[in-house]
């Protein structure tokens, strides 16, 4: 296994798998589904249980996989699972349970078209599922949206760090484009897995065997007394507010002198980068605002960036999901329009430019 920091060329899925081993992940529990089966295949091929001791197990279903993540993360270990849209739908129970028991599980959705079994082609139609929570109750999952193979490699360590910092499930919302495309990437350096002493220190709440110096650790999302349950929920809401205050991440391009903004995440952001260049050639001054954390959504930062602009186009490969968060953030100050393709069709940059012209620029004349 390469230890030097060299530039290599690989698929997003493969980069994620290799980076997971290097960031000291303790376990992976997954199930095959297109377009992300390369992740578990890469792990099976690399045999990290022989090198770092990382456990890799193909579970019998996504339901089992997410519950293995619950058990493993509950014992203080850095464990993760990956799947695609219909599999993530199956995992919602486990995610809600992890949120309720405050367990730092990490999972990855390499999105495909839906709803239901859908298509194996890419889409971004799980934004609601990711940010509004598909499970039950008042909870939020930290959501990171990579837009490159490099970010697929970098975000796995970040997801673990954030999950453990806040004792909350964290998700990487990728898609079939980012997962399957090949790009240059510098994989992170190898970090050793934590020892038992380190885990006991970092995770005093973990269930690893009760030593005489403490009470038993019990991880549960159940609380039948409403007064206590309300306090638990309020404390979680305070946690979410802290995450909102401290963990927003986003990126911008070509915002200097821009009259319009295109808001896009993930692969749609990559297509938008090209769209902006094409628009520039046609004399249109437009910039890209790319949320990296979809939850917490960069609402304050977007509001600030929108000042003095003429309009916003939200380019996302779905029927209109992130556009709702953009509209909430902008609160009527500017026109906000949506452009998207459905059913697994990935739009061309020219389509985004056309949408910008027909839905925003021409309408204001």
């Amino acid at each position: 296994m390469e230890e030097k920091q060299e530039v290599t060329l690989m698929k997003g899925n493969e980069a994620l798998a290799r980076a997971a081993i290097r960031c000291g992940a303790d376990g992976f529990f997954g199930y095959p589904i297109t377009p992300q089966s390369e992740i578990i295949e890469t792990l099976a091929l690399l045999k990290p249980w022989e090198t770092t001791g990382m456990v890799v197990l193909q579970a019998e279903s996504e339901v089992a996989a997410i519950n293995m993540v619950y058990g493993g993360a509950g014992s203080g270990k850095r464990v993760m699972t990956t799947s695609s849209s219909p599999g993530i739908a199956l995992m919602q129970e486990g995610i809600a349970y992890m949120a309720g028991a405050e367990i730092p599980g990490v999972f990855v959705n390499v999105q495909r078209g839906g709803p239901g079994l859908g298509t194996i082609q890419p889409s971004q139609s799980d934004y609601f599922q990711a940010t509004r929570g598909g499970g039950n109750g008042d909870y939020n999952t930290i959501v990171l949206a990579p837009a490159s193979v490099q970010e697929m490699a970098d975000f796995i360590d970040l997801a673990f760090t954030l999950a453990f910092r806040y004792r909350n499930p964290a998700m990487i919302l990728s898609d079939g484009v980012i997962g399957q495309m090949m790009e240059k990437v510098v994989l992170p350096p190898l970090k050793p897995r934590r020892t038992e002493e380190q885990i006991r220190k970092e995770c005093p709440w973990a269930t690893i065997g009760r030593t005489p110096d403490r009470k038993p650790n019990i991880l549960t999302s159940l609380e039948l007394k409403p007064e206590i349950m309300e306090q638990r929920n309020l404390s979680m809401q305070r946690k979410y507010q802290t995450i909102k205050d401290c963990e927003v991440r986003y990126d911008t391009q070509q915002m200097d002198g821009a009259e319009y903004i295109i808001v896009a995440f993930g692969s749609a952001a990559r297509i938008t980068e090209k769209a902006i260049e094409l628009a520039k050639e046609q004399g249109i001054k437009v910039g890209l605002f790319r949320p990296i954390t979809l939850w917490p959504f960069p609402e304050k930062q977007l509001r600030k960036a929108a000042v003095g602009k003429k309009g916003i186009l939200v380019a996302e490969i779905n029927a209109g999901q992130m556009v709702q968060d953009v509209r909430l953030a902008i609160n009527g100050a500017l026109p906000v329009e949506h452009f998207g393709r459905l059913g697994g069709i990935v739009p061309e940059p020219e389509e985004i430019v056309k949408a910008l012209k027909t839905q925003l620029i021409q309408k204001e004349k």
Partner: protein
């Protein structure tokens, strides 16, 4: 009363030390209490108090974590074997077991149960089978007997409407990954002593990396069956034992 007999050297039996003073919420006469005692005793006998992680179910035993002073994780309904799989693989020197009812293990959790057992995970699954859904008020379970009346089969279980009772322990005994599959009960002192031995055997096997074990405890549910505890024991002996016969169904620990 002559109290001179009360002294530590004369002590023959008392509440197990891993069991705390919290009054258990189970109905009077419920088998859960007895099995909880046995689990507490076995863990202490093995000296594994500091290295045990229990996974509790959704069912009457959802609060098992209140009564035994070890680390516990509460699993979603039926998912306990998946949690236990991860914990044991990540912490191989810990004693990891699940404690589940028949609805949890043999209905919604069938896949997780069979796959964890078949993978030969070094865990023990303790299966409390009382042929009914106790916690939610006495509905039919996959293990409910033909003719048995519950709130969702008030005229008695009818194979045409409801299918046949599921003998999941027999299925488990056929899986290559299992090393010890047994069926016990806890209605008499003699049966309890045998059940304790079975639990100890299973726990030892998991620590010696022999594979997975399933210990079924055929149990009563006074509330669900609407019988007094002593009558429930009798009903169990007359109706449950013939269909769910006791004994070791598989023992390949020393192969």
């Amino acid at each position: 009363m002559d109290t001179s007999i009360i002294s530590p050297e004369n002590l023959v039996y008392s509440k197990p030390k891993l069991m705390n003073d919290t009054t258990m919420h189970y109905c009077p006469g419920c088998s859960h209490g007895v099995v909880h005692k046995l689990v507490a005793e076995v863990i202490a006998d093995m000296g594994m108090e500091e290295k045990t992680v229990g996974i509790c179910p959704v069912g009457c035993a959802v609060f098992a974590y209140r009564y035994l002073d070890i680390d516990w994780q509460e699993a979603a309904h039926g998912r306990a074997p998946a949690l236990a799989t991860a914990v044991k693989r990540l912490w191989p020197d810990r004693l990891v077991f699940t404690y589940q009812g028949d609805g949890d293990l043999a209905c919604i959790g069938t896949a997780e149960t069979l796959h964890a057992l078949n993978r030969g995970e070094n865990i023990t699954i303790i299966f409390i089978n009382n042929a009914i859904y106790g916690m939610t008020g006495g509905q039919m379970a996959p293990t409910t007997l033909i003719g048995q009346k519950t709130s969702t089969c008030p005229y008695g279980r009818d194979p045409v409407l409801h299918g046949y009772p599921l003998k999941i322990t027999e299925l488990a005994a056929q899986l290559q990954g299992t090393c010890y599959v047994t069926r016990q009960s806890v209605e008499t002192a003699g049966a309890i002593i045998k059940a304790k031995k079975a639990i100890r055997k299973a726990f030892d096997a998991s620590m010696n990396k022999k594979g997975s074990s399933l210990v079924e405890i055929v149990s009563t549910c006074s509330s669900g069956w609407k019988l007094k505890p002593a009558e429930a024991n009798k009903w169990m002996e007359e109706h449950m034992f013939p269909f769910y016969p006791k004994g070791d169904l598989k023992d390949t620990i020393n192969k």
